[in-house]
């Protein structure tokens, strides 16, 4: 079977879901004729036509606001924001509307939409093309947040994200787009949101990571007996999987590239402290970005947590 990368896997998920459900539409900048700057929507305009694959004006707030209206009317829009750093002007539509329509209307209206966006550092791109602002969205009640790490879960999670009745922010690690390959079958199964994957079993250290950092955390685990949890759904995250693992290992390291300050690692660490304090043999350690603006290409390697930093965290919890 041919090997598929994450770009192709998401393209497959979009294709299959659009074939299955005519309410699914795509809108965004350059998603039509150009197939998206990363080619995730390549071929979809030809297949589904301009009513279902819409090249929009350059207006993120307008795109997201329109998607909220489409969802109100019953469509299932999949919005592409070209890079995560360009979503900020649309936050009002996400936070004040997409996330609250259900509560505001006491269930009369929902907001079934997906916002896909390339995310994270590591492709030596210009400024604001490397943001990891997942915590902003995790903090906001009403939205779900998903980060795939392989073609297999990218496809399965995208299928579920589109079918999910709530707004889902689907963050695609741009560094992994073409770097990770797996064998995928057509019509592959949806993977439930809210369920983590045990990427690697182990008994000494529970490591929670997602996206690009999942692979870094695994690389760094040589010489340690790590149980590596690929969180995949950041919100709602799989509390049971983390708890079961921490009870077994007694140690927890969370790795993410976003800044440590109020990052998702803080929530996971607090959760472990609240629910598994008695099982912990060491403090929970976060390996994360510093409290600094994400640098441009020349300094991005310095900024990103690397294997050495992750290993030091593993050593620290083991030696405690």
């Amino acid at each position: 079977m041919a090997k598929t990368n994450i770009v192709q896997a998401i393209n497959q998920a979009l294709t299959e879901e659009m074939e299955r459900d005519k309410d699914v539409v795509i809108l965004g900048e350059d998603v039509g004729r150009d197939g998206g700057v990363f080619r995730v929507t390549e071929g979809l305009l030809d297949k589904f036509g301009p009513d279902r694959v819409m090249d929009t004006p350059l207006a993120e707030l307008g795109i997201l606001g329109a998607a909220v209206g489409m969802a109100a009317y019953g469509l299932k829009p999949v919005v592409e924001i070209q890079f995560m750093g360009f979503i900020y002007s649309a936050l009002e539509q996400v936070f004040s509307h997409a996330a609250r329509v259900r509560a505001r209307s006491r269930g009369r209206f929902g907001c079934q939409l997906v916002v896909r966006t390339p995310y994270g550092i590591g492709i030596k791109a210009p400024e604001l093309h490397s943001e990891s602002a997942e915590a902003l969205f995790c903090h906001m009640p009403g939205v779900k947040v998903v980060v795939p790490s392989t073609p297999l879960n990218a496809k399965g999670l995208m299928l579920s994200a589109i079918r999910d009745p709530d707004p889902v922010i689907f963050l695609e690690p741009s560094r992994l787009y073409r770097a990770v390959k797996s064998e995928l079958s057509e019509g592959g199964a949806a993977m439930p949101l809210g369920k983590a994957d045990i990427y690697q079993e182990g008994k000494d250290i529970t490591v929670v990571a997602w996206g690009t950092m999942l692979h870094r955390a695994a690389e760094a685990s040589e010489g340690f007996d790590c149980e590596i949890i690929d969180l995949m759904t950041l919100k709602p995250f799989d509390e049971e999987a983390i708890l079961a693992s921490v009870k077994k290992t007694g140690r927890l390291v969370v790795v993410h590239e976003a800044t440590r300050m109020c990052g998702l690692g803080a929530e996971i660490a607090a959760f472990a402290a609240e629910e598994a304090m008695m099982h912990l043999k060491s403090p929970v350690i976060r390996v994360a970005g510093p409290d600094a603006v994400t640098p441009m290409a020349r300094l991005e390697d310095a900024y990103m947590p690397d294997a050495a930093r992750i290993k030091r965290a593993y050593e620290t919890v083991m030696e405690y």
Partner: protein
């Protein structure tokens, strides 16, 4: 009851030098031969720099780069109309504006190498760092212009953006607020017909971008952006009005992006080569050269020396840029806040960045 017309509007288009190189002397601003040569020299420098940047990118010596080929007329004409103490708010496709205002070439290269120090604008140069999120810089110019008014300074702010940028709310809010406060600001839109793969016709149903000024009660006009003299005139007039207290102007420069969107793009996926070829015939240097030939101010040895000087300046800049020491990782933290927070100090130590 009769239906009254409560407003009637028109949109003007300015061209001073025809495609055949003939100058309309009634419209032409007073320009000495030396001033016309300045346009030429600035365009040659920008084009030489641009060509070198593209080859440096191909050689992997700089990162993704946004070519300005074809837009030099709009950029040079408007930049050279500015006074030294005016302020500029650029997007990322403004190389010729930067260079025309004397921005150090080697810093420009450093920036495209992915080094923040390349946007450390020298003291005395009033250029705000280039804005990567499209259109977001437009309100900044409105605000700077409001500040100039509040302080009573006879200055203006100029902001550069594209046809795509005119679709963003930022654009509309900025025009509106600037109109309300009669801020001395020039909104310079380079309509280069494309926003990556999206053609101008899909940005707005409106026939021109210039006409959007009408809705905000400010001046607006369309200019042949490949006619450097026309752009210069439109900008000079707008600056004069702004500084006289007559409020903002939106200038739409009609031009064309002759290259791919950036070095990461492949424009052959979405536009016809015939379209590109037809615009190549209208590019700004051809026009200026025709004019200069007619005036007899484009001697061969002058041309050669301008090109040689430009090439030498770019050579020196590349050398200087590549000789710069690698940026210090500590600067990632050093410049986030005015002073390091306690947390940042700890991170600096943990990361081993403190010397």
């Amino acid at each position: 009851m009769p239906i009254n017309t409560v407003g009637r509007f028109e949109v003007k288009y300015l061209q001073v030098v025809s495609e055949e190189g003939i100058l309309d002397s009634a419209l032409a601003p007073a320009l000495s031969d030396t001033e016309i040569r300045k346009f030429y020299e600035a365009i040659i420098l920008a084009r030489t720099f641009n060509g070198r940047a593209l080859s440096l990118q191909r050689e992997g010596r700089i990162g993704t780069y946004a070519s300005i080929l074809g837009q030099e007329g709009s950029q040079v004409g408007s930049a050279l109309a500015l006074a030294k103490d005016d302020w500029v708010f650029p997007s990322f496709r403004e190389t010729a504006v930067f260079l025309s205002l004397g921005y150090p070439l080697h810093l420009m290269i450093r920036y495209w190498m992915g080094d923040e120090r390349g946007m450390k604008v020298p003291e005395g140069v009033n250029i705000f760092p280039m804005s990567v999120p499209v259109g977001t810089q437009i309100p900044h110019a409105a605000g700077a212009a409001m500040a100039m008014r509040i302080r009573g300074d006879k200055r203006a702010a100029a902001v550069y953006f594209g046809d795509g940028g005119s679709s963003r709310g930022d654009f509309h809010e900025a025009l509106n607020i600037a109109g309300v406060f009669r801020a001395p600001v020039i909104f310079l839109c380079q309509n280069n017909q494309w926003a990556i793969s999206v053609p101008r016709s899909k940005q707005t149903r409106a026939g021109t971008i210039a006409q959007r000024a009408i809705g905000y009660g400010i001046e607006g006009l369309q200019v042949d952006g490949n006619d450097v003299i026309a752009v210069y005139k439109a900008m000079k007039d707008a600056l004069e009005r702004a500084k006289a207290g007559d409020g903002p102007t939106l200038i739409e420069c009609v031009t064309y992006r002759l290259d791919d969107h950036t070095t990461a793009d492949d424009a052959s996926r979405y536009r016809a080569s015939e379209e590109v070829e037809s615009w190549k015939k209208k590019e700004p240097l051809i026009r200026l050269r025709l004019l200069m030939e007619k005036k007899g101010i484009l001697a061969k040895d002058y041309e050669d020396s301008v090109l040689k000087e430009a090439e030498a300046a770019v050579d020196r800049a590349v050398q200087e840029a590549e000789a710069m020491a690698a940026p210090d990782p500590a600067d990632i933290l050093n410049y986030t806040n005015a002073a390091l927070t306690g947390r940042q100090k700890k991170e600096m130590k943990d990361l081993g960045w403190r010397k």
